[in-house]
């Protein structure tokens, strides 16, 4: 694997420039099952963080808490200095109204394992939907931007296709373009290649690698250890709703200190 040293925009962090994501003591339970047991994580601007961990360790749940698809039970999550899902007033914390939560989600893009494209809309319409509907961008302008985004993920010729006419890899790249259309400051990827045939994984990872090079802040849950080594600034290992290990990819992946990380990684060697 070639180490990519050509990244122009590495992570930068100055006191005036708060981290993109700050999660503190995040707890989440489903009924009696405590899925997140005190997660602490900071993601700096422009940083690419890969989250690894066994099935059921709470990786998806944590990502979904960041854009408030799940409501956390305790702790706090800030994105760009803004408290997600709640607001402080008069020394108390209040739940945000649905409209305000919707507002917060605009700056956070998310890519799902099963793509979740809108099947009744073409690739182009999928990408245009949120800019025209949510941001009220004029149609012609949105169409131009959407076409550019589809070109960027290598699908300019598939603009008029419906999702069911596309391969899994192509669908996932449309989904990436759709998320980028809102010009998010942060992108969340939840196992974006897990539902793909092995020969289609590469094209999606290539698109993600390009985004990382352009300096987008990314939080990626994946089992692609090669991608983590090559693209990630930091790798985080989660198990049982906790972060057990966090550090540079070469450290966590090649010399894991925690026995559970070692046991998990052995499966990928």
């Amino acid at each position: 694997m070639i180490q990519d040293t050509s990244r122009p925009t590495g992570p930068k962090d100055t006191p005036a420039d708060p981290p993109m994501v700050v999660a503190r003591h995040v707890r989440k339970r489903f009924g009696h099952l405590e899925v997140l047991r005190g997660i602490d994580l900071e993601v700096r601007r422009g940083e690419v963080v890969v989250i690894l961990g066994p099935s059921g360790s709470g990786k998806s749940t944590f990502l979904r808490c960041i854009n408030h698809l799940e409501r956390i039970d305790a702790g706090s999550i800030h994105v760009e200095g803004q408290l997600i899902g709640f607001r402080q007033a008069g020394g108390r914390v209040h739940h945000l109204r649905p409209r305000e939560i919707t507002r917060q989600r605009r700056d956070i893009g998310m890519v799902f394992q099963h793509f979740n494209l809108f099947p009744h809309q073409t690739a182009l319409e999928n990408v245009m939907e949120a800019p025209t509907g949510v941001l009220r961008v004029p149609k012609a302008e949105a169409r131009k931007a959407a076409t550019q985004l589809l070109t960027r993920v290598g699908l300019a010729d598939k603009a008029a296709c419906y999702p069911r006419q596309l391969s899994g890899g192509q669908q996932q790249r449309v989904a990436i373009a759709r998320a980028l259309a809102m010009e998010p400051k942060l992108m969340l990827f939840d196992e974006p290649t897990s539902a793909l045939d092995p020969e289609l994984v590469g094209e999606v990872l290539a698109s993600m690698r390009d985004l990382a090079r352009e300096g987008l802040t990314m939080l990626v849950v994946t089992h692609e250890v090669g991608f983590a080594k090559e693209v990630a600034d930091r790798v985080v290992f989660m198990d049982g709703g906790q972060i057990l290990e966090s550090g540079r990819p070469q450290d966590v992946l090649d010399n894991p200190t925690h026995p559970r990380t070692r046991a998990f990684l052995r499966r990928f060697l």
């Binding site: 698809l69 009744h120 949120a130 759709r178």
Partner: protein, 330 residues
């Protein structure tokens, strides 16, 4: 199967001449199709039965086809048809609007609202619609006056029930409220049929609830909602004939009142049947238009053309098989 012809085998097919593991050279082009002797037998039987039916229709004098012809375009029948169509349209509109409201109410997080909507469906689906019609018609026996005001307080307006609940209103209420209960279940089923991942993806893009429902969920739910709604409209058209019991002059009541005078019972019932069939056929064609609109993106191929659908032509097998199920795209 002695009727199955084996494909022509070119060259020498005897296995002894080939090394083990090799297969004989075969070209399946021009293979003889499988014969279906039973199919031909059934066609023959149906042809005999069909001829008998035709003979019966033509030779039996009690059909009085001449009488049927003279009433088919009569003005009084036209008035009955107008009432039937009008009643169907209004009751269906109430049913659809009410159904959407009740469905959304049932799916609400508000426990009180969802139980009230659940009780509505339980009650109106549980009581026969004929009973409901007669009940509305006789409402004055229960409530001689209907008033609008604050309980035990001032009354703003009041009416004699008999003046307010005309047979037409009783019919509209009876059919419409009953229909709303069925439509609520159809709409709810449609909304539940849409992959929850769609809601998540739309929410993650920053779409609000109303927009999500209108742009993402409903267009997909429509594919599940339209076909059963189509049969509901057809059912409603026929169910309107029940209002003849409350003396509303729909198509059935009109022919009944004629044959009660003239005793041309059979020909007039045939007139009614023909008109019901004509109206349901028009509805069927209309439904196919709407269905095709909402089939956007549902299959890998362009939707079947309207005429081949309307003329009962089946899509070519390859096209049908290419219809990709939800699971396959996962």
């Amino acid at each position: 199967m002695s009727t199955t012809h084996h494909p022509t085998v070119r060259g020498d097919a005897s296995e002894a001449e080939h090394p083990p593991g090799a297969v004989p050279a075969v070209d399946v082009a021009g293979a003889a199709p499988v014969r279906h002797p039973l199919r031909w037998l059934s066609v023959l039987i149906l042809a005999v039965l069909g001829t008998q039916l035709g003979h019966f229709l033509v030779t039996n004098p009690h059909f009085e086809w001449g009488t049927v012809g003279s009433y088919l375009g009569a003005q009084v029948i036209g008035q009955g048809i107008a009432t039937t169509v009008e009643l169907t349209a209004i009751a269906m509109l109430i049913g659809i609007a009410g159904g959407v409201l009740v469905a959304v109410g049932r799916m609400s997080d508000n426990r009180v609202l969802s139980s009230v909507c659940g009780a509505y469906v339980w009650f109106f689906r549980g009581v026969p619609v004929l009973v409901q019609l007669v009940f509305w018609y006789n409402l004055s026996a229960l409530l001689p006056r209907i008033s609008f005001g604050i309980p035990f307080g001032p009354e703003f307006a009041s009416w004699h029930t008999n003046a307010l609940i005309t047979p037409l209103l009783a019919a509209i209420l009876g059919l419409g409220l009953n229909e709303a209960a069925y439509m609520a279940e159809i709409v709810r089923g449609g909304l539940l049929g849409v992959d929850p991942g769609q809601t998540e993806a739309a929410s993650a893009l920053g779409m609000g609830r109303a927009r999500l429902l209108r742009r993402v969920i409903l267009p997909q739910a429509m594919r599940f909602i339209i076909p059963p709604t189509g049969s509901q409209v057809i059912n409603m058209l026929k169910a309107t004939s029940l209002v003849s019991v409350i003396a509303l002059a729909d198509l059935l009541y009109t022919v009944q009142s004629i044959y009660n005078r003239t005793f041309e019972t059979i020909p007039l019932l045939i007139v009614a049947c023909l008109w019901y069939l004509i109206m349901t056929s028009v509805l069927y064609v209309g439904q196919s238009f709407i269905e095709r609109h909402y089939a956007r993106g549902a299959t890998r191929h362009a939707p079947q053309s309207f005429w081949s659908f309307a003329l009962f032509r089946r899509a070519p097998a390859a096209e049908r098989d290419a219809t990709v199920s939800k699971e396959e795209t996962r």
